[in-house]
Symmetry: C2
Subunit: 142 residues, 2 copies
DNA sequence: CCAAACAAGTCAGAGAATCTGACTAAAGTG
DNA sequence: CACTTTAGTCAGATTCTCTGACTTGTTTGG
């Protein structure tokens, strides 16, 4: 096969991690879909606005709203008034949501450990540092 | 904001590249959707089987078939009998498909150049090499 | 060589995700 | 205060994706 493009090379580990974390969370009794998880993981600890989530997950506001509705119905997040803007509401993670996050974090750490064992400490940190720099020119939401 | 996870850090450049290439291809007069493109980019120069495409793009055979139908209708690929297996057909890129690929390749090269200018030669090559190693433990289709 | 297991792909149908366009209400701006 | 922008919702259509069942051809163990 031809050497895979950088795009594909980025996709593979991204998708691998995403899927394993999702599987772990679902298996632990927190049913969530992939699309919901992609929004959920972007909810800030202090709460996020819908518009922020949409921009960060790179979907429209409508899509983000649709998914937040479901996360709310599942008890993972709640919407509270935003004190600083009467139009907006803050989406915050509930207790149940935090439980799901904890499961996700465990699996995320496990995967990072696997990667560290495969690549070595130095290379994993290099990867992170390069990706952080790359973020400067590839993140539309900076 | 908290430091983004490795997952998000991988997602950002992946998605950035994907979107810009797609935009360029569409703007050049080759209408394709994102989902179609994700399958199309995996079609091998010598032709691919549906099952391969499905595994590589990480969707079901049915989804891959659905998307290949559309790529075929758009004139980007064709299905020819697979000489080595009467059940299978090879999906091959047509002339029109190759034209679209050429557009994509130009944009891909441009983006890689931007990344190279931002990161430096050495770091970009490091990124590629690390991702290639990471592929060993994250690619379900190896 | 043949029966059983397996693999490639399709068909049907349902559900999930996503978008565009139009809208309301609140904030910011000159 | 009018005007523009921003946050979010409503409605509707389209696209994507999956599960389950099936057909046809291939491989394999006895």
């Amino acid at each position: 096969m031809t050497d895979p493009s950088l795009g594909v090379l980025l996709f593979l580990p991204y998708r691998h991690m995403e899927q394993r974390i999702l599987d772990a969370v679902v298996a632990a009794g927190y049913p969530v879909t992939l699309a919901q998880a992609r929004v959920f993981q972007r909810v800030d600890a202090d709460g996020s606005r819908l518009t922020e989530l949409a921009a960060s997950a790179q979907v429209t506001k409508q899509t983000a709203g649709f998914l937040v509705d479901q996360l709310e119905a599942g008890g993972y997040v709640e919407r509270v008034p935003d004190p600083s803007d009467a139009r907006a509401r803050l989406i915050r993670i509930t207790d149940r949501g935090h439980q799901a996050v904890a499961i996700a974090r465990v699996m995320q750490d496990r995967i990072e450990t696997e990667w560290r064992e495969h690549l070595g400490d130095r290379e994993l940190e290099r990867l992170r540092s390069i990706l952080l720099r790359l973020r400067g020119i590839t993140d539309p939401w900076e």
